[in-house]
Structure formats: C-alpha cells, structure tokens
C-alpha cells in the first residue's frame, strides 16, 4: 500500500538502495532488535511576571515566550540474549531551556542495560533518580528546587545537570514487581564557579533507594500506590566536609481506586544535610544566591500534590492537579514556596491541551539574594506524545502475564 503511493522513479531508487545495502537473508540469520520510539513535543506559551523586592532593587521581569523545553525523542532497542535475558540501549535527547548554555539539544539518555526477571543493570547517561516520587507538573523543572536532591557539583543554571548524569546502576525487583531496590554509583555533572562544565567524569556520588510500587498495569489496584526512601551521597570534598547527603522519602496513595475517576494524593520530603560544620553555605561555593550554594546548604523540601484523573471508558481524558512545594534552609531566614495548579484535556490519544499556573514566592535572605520576591507564570500548552513499538517479540517484566502467570524468559 505504501509502495503504491510512491512514484515509480523514487520507488526504484529505494529498491536499489535496499538491494545494495541489505545482506541476503539466506546468508545471514539475524535476530532483529525490538525497536521502540517515543517522544513528546511539548510547547507552551509562557506569560511570566516576576516582582522585584522594591522599585529599583532586584529584577523585575515580564514577558511572553514560546517554550519548547523538555520536548524529547527517545529510542529504545533491546533484544533477547542466548541466556534468554535481555539487553538493550536507550538513546535520547531533549531540548533544554533556551536560557541555559547547553546548546540546542542535550543528550539525556545514552545507556546500555541488562535485564532479567529480578535484575536490571544500567550503564551510561540516564536519569539520576534523585527523588522518591514524580509530581504532576507540566515540566520536571517546574519543581526542580523542591522535588530533587540537587547537584552540589554544579553551579550551572539548568535543570539537566540536576536530573541526568552518568551512572552505573543495579536494581532488584521482587514481590510481583512491587518491591524495588536500587544501588547506584554515578558521576553528577561538575562545573566551575561560572557554571562551565568541567571534564570531570569520575564517580562522585553514591545512592540507594528502597521502594514499593504498584506496577503501572495494576496502578489502581491498591490504596498504597508508591512508597519509597532513598539517599544520595555526593562526595563534594570541600574544606567543611567530604559528603553532601540528601535523604528523600515519599508516599502516594489512591484516594479513589475508581479507574474512571482516579484521585491520588502524593507527598515527598527531601532533607539535604548540607556540608560543613554548620551544614550551611560553603564559603567557596558562594551563597544561597547561586545554584551550587543552595545545593550545598542544609535544607528541607516538601512537595504534595492532589491529582484527579477522569478516564471515561478507561481512556485518559482530563487531568486536574494541584501541587504545592515548600523549602526552607536551616540556620538562615530563607524559604521558598510554590503553588502549581494545572489542568490538561486530552483531545485524542497522546494529544493534550492544557494550562498551568505557577506562583512562587521567596522570603527572607533568599528573596534578597535572588533579588525577587514573587513570580507568577501562566503557561498555555499543547503536548503531542507518542510511543510505538516494532518487532515486539518478548514481554516485559511488568506485564501482567509475567507478574501474575509465570515469567517467560
């Protein structure tokens, strides 16, 4: 059918190319990889307004921008091994915020993984998993300061260095996919004081996580949907201390198990121990005014969200969520608060239109150091996302069949 639409000369060229480049199937036996491609085009029209401390002091900003950051494309290739285990690779990139100096694209996923029924090993660039839960905001960076253990090696003003890094990770799964233990040695991006990335790829962080999670396929089947505790130990080796330890804990519950009208509440606390005798600001790294300074300071961040999902005929259709984040720094008068309500309506499968409002306020020293007290933003958004799998020839660990009816290796 596709060939019918091609004009004859183009089809001939295509055929010729195929004939020249393809090995003859009678000569080479091949087990083709399973191929999954996924992506999201996420474009918002942002109306931002930041209020200065007082007239003439600090930044006052107002603007309208078209923002396509966090749009991404991700490829996954995996195949069955002679042992019947699986191995594969992820290759993905996203479009960072224009205000960062990361360039047009950032390769956030370049890794190879090895999978068995109870184990997954991952090596390469991927998510740092430096949180216990994810929250329903438009972009992850909307809650960066509240929902992540931040990177104490980076003074760059971007979310990517706080979300992605180079890891060597081992994960174990049990209890019908519900139990999840993770250990990870990783390299978190290192920058100089100017935020310029340094050629430092040594392992600098160790982390661990213990979690309970209903597999996605049975996500409404229980009250406790997710629970987990974890830590991140960054070996910052500063004069005031060697390790920067962040602790995280989270819990998500289905307030309603109705798969047509799901209501879910989730909350997370992150306690960053900070570095130094007072576990406060490291002198060399600056103050709370810089990303690195804030990451090195002792702080406690709380995030909670309430999400309502309407799924008529078991199809996602409408999501309304409200998220609140609060962070306070120890030993100084500094805190920040954010409120993020949003609503998304699904026009078709994988196509959402929505609006998100975000309010953020800074108090005490933080407001003065940042030079702003309040900011508001309204984002009108259109999201297109997709996932397609080709040559699908084995089941995944989390499939109901594999979880409940005997695993097929």
């Amino acid at each position: 059918m596709a060939a019918g639409r091609l004009s004859v000369p183009r089809f001939a060229v295509l055929f010729l190319l195929m004939a020249c480049s393809m090995p003859s199937p009678t000569l080479a036996q091949e087990s083709s990889a399973r191929f999954t491609v996924a992506g999201t085009g996420l474009v918002s029209l942002d109306l931002n307004r930041t209020t200065a401390l007082e007239s003439g002091v600090g930044d006052t900003d107002q603007g309208v921008v078209t923002n396509f950051s966090d749009s991404f494309l991700l490829l996954r290739l995996d195949r069955q091994l002679y042992t019947n285990h699986r191995a594969g690779m992820l290759l993905g990139f996203l479009f960072p915020d224009a205000e960062t100096d990361l360039g047009d694209v950032f390769y956030n996923q370049i890794n190879v993984f090895y999978d068995t029924r109870t184990f997954r090993g991952t090596l390469g660039r991927t998510r740092l998993e430096n949180f216990a839960l994810e929250f329903p905001t438009l972009r992850e960076e909307d809650l960066l300061e509240y929902a992540f253990v931040l990177n104490g090696f980076s003074n760059a003003d971007n979310s990517e260095f706080n979300r992605y890094g180079n890891v060597a990770r081992a994960e174990l799964f049990g209890l019908g996919g519900r139990l999840h233990v993770r250990g990870q040695a990783s390299n978190w991006s290192v920058t100089d004081i100017e935020g310029e990335r340094q050629n430092d790829f040594d392992v600098n962080t160790g982390s661990g996580f213990l979690g309970y999670q209903l597999p996605h396929s049975i996500r409404y089947s229980g009250i406790v949907r997710e629970a987990g505790v974890g830590f991140q130990s960054q070996k910052v080796d500063l004069a005031g201390g060697k390790w920067l330890v962040g602790l995280s804990a989270g819990l998500a519950v289905n307030l309603s198990r109705n798969p047509l009208r799901n209501i879910e509440l989730r909350g997370q606390v992150i306690h960053n121990r900070g570095v130094g005798p007072n576990a406060r600001v490291d002198a060399a790294a600056g103050t709370l005014a810089t990303p690195m300074g804030r990451a090195l300071s002792r702080s406690t961040a709380l995030v909670a969200s309430l999400r309502f999902l309407r799924r008529p005929y078991q199809l996602d259709r409408l999501q309304a969520a409200a998220t609140v984040g609060y962070k306070t720094f120890s030993g100084v008068d500094a805190s920040q608060l954010t409120l993020v309500p949003n609503v998304f309506f699904q026009l078709g499968q994988g196509v959402d239109v929505g609006v998100q409002y975000q309010y953020e306020s800074f108090s005490g020293n933080l407001a003065e150091l940042l030079g702003r007290r309040r900011s508001h933003s309204v984002k009108f958004v259109l999201v297109f996302s997709f996932q397609s799998m080709f040559n699908d020839y084995f089941g995944d660990r989390d499939d109901i069949l594999n979880l409940e009816h005997g695993y097929i290796s």
């Binding site: 049975i218 409404y220 005929y313 078991q314």
Partner: protein
C-alpha cells in the same frame, strides 16, 4: 474387512521379493519404502479395484442402507427435558498457563483444564451431558459446542445466548449429544484471542453403529487438533485485556460499570443514542489504531498443542487401517497432505459423506472437522503436513510447525534410512 485386503497381499509379495534381492533379513521389511513407486494413479486404481462392487475410482459406496440414513432426525430437546438420572457430568475450567510448544519456546495461553488443546471429550450419541465450566481467569469466557444441535441457550455465544461467564463463576451447559461425529468445543468470547490461544478441543460423539467402523474396520482412532498461534499478538492482547478487565471487575463490584465502558448495549437503538451523545465506539481509529490488531501475525503452528519436532507421530502397521479425525481449532486454512498414500475421506464437519472420497490432501478451513481412513499398504516413514508450507515453520524457520509423520511400526527393524530431526533448512 482387514483380512480381505488385497493391497496387503500385493505388498507382502512384492516386499518379500525385494527383501530377498537386497539381502534384508526376514519378511518384516516387506513393503518398505524402497519399492519402486508406480505413481499415484496406480494406487488410486488399486484401491478402487479393492472393492469389487466399486467401479468409480476414488469414490466408494457405503453398504446398502435406507435412503436418507445419514440425515440426523432426532428432535432437539431443551435442558428441562433432560432425564433426572444418567446424565454424564464433566468439569472444565480455564486457566492461564505457560505452554511449551517446541523445546525452548513457551507462551501464555488460555487453556481448558490447563491443557492445549483442551481435553478430548468423548460422548455417546443421544447421551445427556452436563458440563460445569469454571472460569479461573480474570477474563470473560463461554463454551460453544460447535456442530452440536442443542437448545440455543446452551450454545455459548456471549451476549447472544448467555451472559459471559464471570471470573470464578461456574456455568452449567446441559445438552444431549447429537448428532454423532467429530465436532469441537471452543470459547466464543473474543475468539481471535480466546479460541485460537488456545481454548479449543475435540468433541467426539460416537454413534451406536458407526458406518465408518463397519465399512473400514479401523483398529486405531487418532485425533489431530490443528492450531495456529500469533504469540506476539496474543501476549499483547492478553496483557491489554487483563489490565482492562481488572479495572472493569472493580467497577462491576462497585456497581459503576456502564454500558459505554463495557461496550455492550441492550438494543441497537441504545447504541445509536450513545454514539449520538458523543460516545466513540472502540473500533474507530481514534480509539484503536494498533498495529496488527485485526490481522494476526501467526508465528507458531501446532498439532495437538505441539509443533514439529514435538508433534506425536501417527503409528500404523502394515495391513492395518486407522481413522484420523482432524479438528481445526485455529483461525487459518490448512491443507494436510500425506505422502505415499491415498486415504479415504469419510466425514466432513462430523457428518458421514454420502460416499467416501479417495484423496491425499485434505483442506480444512477454520472450525472445520474431517475424518479420514488410512490403509497401511506402504510401510515407511511418511511425512504428513500442511501443504501451505509457511505453516511448516517455527517462528519463520522451516521445518517446524504443522508437521507430523505416519510411521509404520515395522520400521524399527529396518536398517535403511531413518528420519533425523532437522530444524534449519
């Protein structure tokens, strides 16, 4: 009638001569495959000549019977007319199991009593039977008694003759086993997934006097259930259905399951009203544009649950006559061809043919059954396979799949060529 088989005599004599010439030990190698074949025409002619009364070549008449004897006459009775005593009781259930079809390859299937195919049910014609069918999955099912004349509410068509059988529920099917013949039973809910993967089994209703037995005097009776599996589609579909059904079961329990979510309406008018009110039927591309959902990508083919090389051979002796019943439990057309023999087709869809027909390839569409009689006149190892050879494959590799063998028991003592197991040609 086997004693008066002229073919056996011919082969004995020729086999003996050859055995002597080639130095084989004894007469037991008689009729080995080294006999110079004279072509199928000779076999047809010879078989036709076997019956002095038959002059039509490839067709033979049954012994004299009254006109219209093959027509089923018994009136259909409803379960309320079943006798109080003497009812045969059968228990069937369905579970999800891992099924190994060839060494090293397993997949999940829906299996009657945990078997692929389901257990063969043998009933006597006219006998009353009560089948207790228990659903041990989180999906919905029924059992359809294919080719049986019964009261319609026992017919097992969901939303047409009954509500589907809910998880952990037991449904009772009561019917009289009529008419006689090789028939089948299968789930009629979501048949591309359920019936084909692998809720199907042979249902054999035996008459008091079987004209096939009387005419051919066969000694062994084989059943070959033909199956076609699309294991990657079935895995995908089963996972999808299980996820959806878990949610629906919760809704059902809470009394919140509506017609639109279940996509089942009381009337056509109710459906049209729902569409008018903005409900999108699940077949529309905006809800379902999934690869290969309509066309299954078949990759494994089996006989009685196993693909070559795990298929069981059909055993025969020289001079023996056997009956083979084919039941197509899958969704494809199969053309079963037997090498080295002309066999008699004696029944189709369980019903005895007006005249047995001599052929060597028998075609069966989905849901078809056919009975053949094989006369053991040509000792050897004889390939018996679907002649659509794309089904003689395992996951695309030839040979495999729907391939078995007619094996003469005498061949054990023959020191010529014996079959190997070949998996990659």
């Amino acid at each position: 009638m086997s004693e008066e088989k002229p073919e056996a005599g011919v082969y004995d004599r020729r086999g003996f001569l050859h055995a002597g010439a080639l130095g084989f030990a004894g007469a037991m190698v008689a009729g080995n495959g080294l006999d110079v074949p004279k072509g199928p025409a000779e076999a047809v002619t010879r078989a036709a000549e076997a019956k002095a009364t038959d002059t039509r070549g490839g067709v033979r008449a049954w012994p004299d019977r009254p006109e219209g004897w093959w027509r089923h006459q018994t009136p259909v009775l409803s379960p309320t007319q079943a006798p109080v005593q003497g009812i045969r009781e059968i228990e069937l259930d369905v579970r999800i199991i891992r099924h190994e079809i060839v060494p090293g390859y397993s997949f999940h299937v829906l299996a009657f009593n945990g078997q692929v195919p389901g257990p063969e049910l043998r009933l006597n014609e006219g006998e009353w039977v009560k089948v207790y069918f228990t659903n041990r999955t989180e999906l919905l099912h029924t059992i359809h008694w294919h080719g049986v004349d019964l009261q319609y509410e026992q017919d097992g068509v969901p939303y047409t003759t009954q509500h589907p059988v809910m998880p952990n529920a037991t449904f009772e099917y009561t019917f009289q086993a009529i008419p006689a013949g090789t028939r089948l039973y299968h789930c009629h809910f979501g048949t591309p997934l359920h019936m084909q993967h692998a809720m199907h089994g042979a249902l054999i209703i035996e008459p008091e006097r079987d004209p096939i037995k009387e005419e051919f005097g066969y000694t062994r009776d084989y059943t070959l259930v033909l199956e076609s599996f699309a294991t990657n589609d079935s895995r995908d579909d089963l996972n999808f259905m299980l996820e959806r059904m878990k949610q629906r079961l919760w809704l059902m329990k809470e009394g919140l399951l509506d017609d639109e979510t279940l996509a089942v309406f009381e009337t056509k008018q109710a459906l049209l009203e729902a569409i008018e009110a903005g409900w999108d039927p699940p077949y529309l591309p905006n809800r379902n544009q999934k690869r290969e959902r309509a066309a299954q990508d078949y990759n494994f083919f089996a006989i009685n649950g196993k693909a070559y090389p795990l298929t069981e051979p059909i055993m025969i002796r020289r001079g023996e006559t056997i009956r083979v019943r084919f039941v197509n439990g899958g969704g494809l057309m199969h053309h079963m061809h037997l090498h080295g023999h002309q066999f008699w087709q004696v029944a189709e869809d369980g019903n005895v043919l007006r005249s047995p027909l001599q052929i060597n390839t028998i075609s069966l569409g989905p849901g078809k059954t056919a009975d053949i009689v094989i006369e053991g006149y040509n000792p050897g190892y004889w390939t018996f396979h679907d002649h659509d050879t794309s089904r003689v494959t395992n996951n695309g590799m030839y040979p495999g799949g729907m391939l078995t063998m007619l094996v003469y028991e005498e061949m054990d003592d023959y020191d010529g060529y014996h079959p190997k197991i070949a998996l990659d040609e």
